[in-house]
């Protein structure tokens, strides 16, 4: 049931490319609720996506 940080970080990345199954979503949600490091990682992955989009389209606003 419990995810390690290593597993959680992989699911965060995969979640950017596909819809995770309900079980993985639940486990990830529980892990992120108690793990600051992985929550930071998730936020940084979302930021990275936004930054790359800005690189692609210099006129877009955040």
């Amino acid at each position: 049931m419990r995810l390690t940080c290593k597993e959680a970080s992989r699911l965060v990345s995969q979640g950017l490319d596909r819809q995770l199954g309900w079980w993985d979503r639940l486990r990830l949600h529980l892990h992120l609720a108690i793990c600051d490091a992985c929550a930071n990682f998730r936020d940084q992955m979302a930021f990275l996506r936004k930054a790359i989009a800005r690189l692609a389209d210099p006129s877009s606003k955040p």
Binding site: S13, N40, L55, P58
Partner: protein, 184 residues
């Protein structure tokens, strides 16, 4: 017309930098930019009324890059990328699955999106990725292709794809931490 040509030519350096992020060999990048400039000059009417020339040109260039990637992937016949093997030698994590160095929060990252130097740092980080890792990542995040199309174009299994995208994201995070957010 002459004025439009001058403005379009003025974007050449930017477009070349942009193409070079995704097409690792210089010749392909220059070809894609050249095709873009030719298409833009022939299609000036398509630009009429739009506000941002660079955005319009970048949109054309994206299509040219996708074409070039497709051409190249057919020609390259998949030399194996040694960096892309699936061995799990991950120094990021301890044996028990915990972070070796837990990511700490970045302060006000959105402010960085307003800074030219941030994007220069991001480009340097992208240029430091292994070729195939960078290509898969850019096809996903930059060109907006979906996983199944990227797997097809690059001849990847889905497992391989997840590994490459994960590595790209982790490496970019580390690079931005070391060269940007960790220095603020």
């Amino acid at each position: 017309m002459a004025e439009f040509r001058t403005r379009v030519e003025g974007e050449r350096a930017y477009l070349l930098r942009y193409a070079s992020l995704q097409l690792r060999d210089r010749a392909s990048a220059e070809d894609a930019v050249q095709e873009t400039l030719v298409a833009a000059l022939a299609g000036e009417k398509g630009f009429a009324g739009r506000s941002n020339l660079r955005t319009w040109l970048t949109g054309i260039l994206k299509h040219k890059i996708v074409d070039a990637i497709r051409r190249n992937s057919r020609e390259a016949a998949f030399a194996r990328d040694p960096a892309a093997d699936l061995d799990d030698l991950d120094p990021l994590f301890a044996a028990d699955g915990h972070w070796a160095e837990p990511p700490s929060a970045w302060s006000n990252p959105d402010a960085s999106l307003e800074q030219k130097q941030f994007f220069a740092a991001l480009e340097r980080c992208l240029a430091g990725l292994p070729a195939k890792t960078a290509q898969a990542f850019m096809m996903r995040e930059h060109l907006g292709l979906d996983a199944s199309e990227i797997c097809k174009e690059l001849g990847l299994t889905s497992t391989h794809y997840w590994v490459l995208l994960y590595r790209a994201r982790v490496a970019l995070r580390e690079c931005l931490q070391a060269n940007w957010f960790g220095k603020q």
